[in-house]
Homo-oligomer: 191 residues x 4
DNA sequence: CATGAATGAGATTTCATTCAT
DNA sequence: TATGAATGAAATCTCATTCAT
């Protein structure tokens, strides 16, 4: 039982090290040996926990994506009326991004590389619940009937774009400005 | 006279080959030897025109960024009143993206990699003119006083996000839907 | 226990292979791939033991220099009176040179290339002891008060020069001739 | 006639550039392109004046060797009695070395690389005259009957060794010290 | 489970030499 | 003569992956 935990810890350490390095240096320029070093493990052991480098990176992606989807549901948006649940979700996304800079940079990098086309997206329960909520809003006529990707781009896409700039230090938003942008996002898609 | 341009042609061929390969395969997985082969030149000559791989990629980025900024001004948006000039610019961006899939994928990849933080952005005359137009709209009270990056995310960011999905084949927009989205974008930032 | 030393053996093999090749072919014309082949190792492992080619060559130089300095003290020259200790040291140097032709050619090549100006000389205990002995001889008035480099040139420099020619096959010295030259060297610097 | 001079000038420029670069950077690390640049000529033209890189380097060596041998005879040593002519030759050598640092470094490098074994030494009239003078001294019993290479090592070898150290800045000799060393050299080989 | 030396294919870059102009 | 773009073989170095211990 002790060793089981050690094993999990080691796997976690590898994922953490990989995240740190890739967010700093990019996919290229992040060799396995450096990951091992940063994670405090040997090169060989990585291949015990992951099939190969691609598998390691993809696993990391899935973990982060899952963590992100869970973060979107913080505060139980399903309990709130339109448009409050939309604003909460948007704020949750934004908050996750700026409090998880490494994860954010990694996600952006991953999703914008031809890398992620090689794998199919895993189904995720939290996203399923979110899509259901959106369907309700559409059915109730609160939201304009735009294609899903358009709704995404006009909402969470904006959040990620802004967060990225804050992380890079090229933007600083006050609470008021943030609320104002959240309103703008609502205006964009509200019926 | 024809032969005088051979040199430039070769440099252009290299940039074109690089663009094609990187948009298909990513930064990693695009070796110089493959670039040479695809461009129909020898490996060595690449280093005559570019200092190294980084320089090649960055130069390519600058060229595309320039081409893009020029595309935004097609149809003389400065001559149109608010909000028509905004819509024109937005449509120009969108049009550039979907008619230049390789360039789009390259731009996204480049701007989302730690790569681009190593270089400072070049000043660009077209962007300067665009910013001036935005300042006017802000001063005239047409647009909400949001920070530049927020305005960008709510407008061109949306266009790029949508275009990317169309290129990847996960989205198809009708002219009506597109116009509807352009309206949404306007609503978002209009005062 | 045998296998524990495998690592060191491999490093030694690389140094030995490098020495052989460089003494035969020179710095240029000695590619890493050839070193690997001659040493019976893979190219990659060389970079496990040495940072780069420069580091490999410089490390080899240091090892040889150390071995040489140890060879100078064979027979305990400190126990002999003037000028016998000088003659012993001189003979030791000469003997080392002609019995280590590869090392000799390497040393000469290294010390006569702009290469060695990039590194600072390591302090060496044996040389320190030799300098102390020379100081004594100077203080005792046995030797003429010439600058150290001049003393070196008039003694060991002569040994190396002669050895080099013997190695190249352009000179053959009898024991008598050698003794005669050792005397000449003594005459040159004796007070 | 004008162009003939230009040609010679260009060849001279190439030799001068090569000398400067090799004395600074070594045989390796001195590419043809850099030689062209430093010499103010195009890469291609070098191959008009020299067959290849080896030929260029060997030609340079011969020129310098010739210049050096001429320098040894300055002041007409043949007119002076023993041991004055020996001292004059020795001083001539020393003087040439310290006033021609690039040439000195080049010579040393060349003669200590496996390079020079590929070519046979050219006969040189000045050296022939010098050898004749030495024969006379030997026959007259002024000099000890040591092999030629030994005589060389004990005389000019010492001069070159000292000069090299002065060039590298690790030694500074006063006129007195120099005269003292010249005396030491004479003592070494005088009967 | 764990290590890290070892491999070797392949990546980037260099450079002597050629040749069209 | 003169240029310098062009070639491509070869050099240096990297790195994902394996495996003996």
């Amino acid at each position: 039982m002790v060793t089981k935990t050690v094993g999990k810890n080691k796997q976690k350490a590898i994922l953490t090290g990989t995240l740190a390095l890739i967010s700093e240096r990019g996919f290229h320029d992040t060799p396995m040996s450096l990951i091992a070093q940063r994670s405090g493990v040997s090169t060989g052991i990585i291949y015990h926990y992951f099939e190969n480098k691609d598998d390691l990176i993809h696993t990391l992606y899935q973990r982060i994506k899952q963590e992100f989807s869970a973060a979107l549901l913080v505060g139980d948006p399903h309990e709130l009326p339109w448009p409050d649940h939309l604003k909460l979700i948007w704020m949750n996304a934004y908050h996750y991004y700026i409090t998880h800079p490494a994860e954010t940079m990694f996600l952006e990098q991953y999703e914008n590389s031809p890398y992620h086309l090689k794998w199919e997206e895993m189904p995720d329960e939290n996203f399923t619940r979110l899509y259901a909520l959106i369907e309700q809003d559409l059915a109730a006529g609160f939201m304009r009937p735009l294609p899903d990707p358009a709704l995404y781009a006009l909402t969470l896409g904006v959040a990620s774009s802004l967060a990225k700039q804050q992380i890079e230090g090229t933007l600083k938003l006050s609470a008021d400005q943030l609320a104002e942008i959240a309103n703008a996002v609502c205006r964009a898609i509200a019926a």
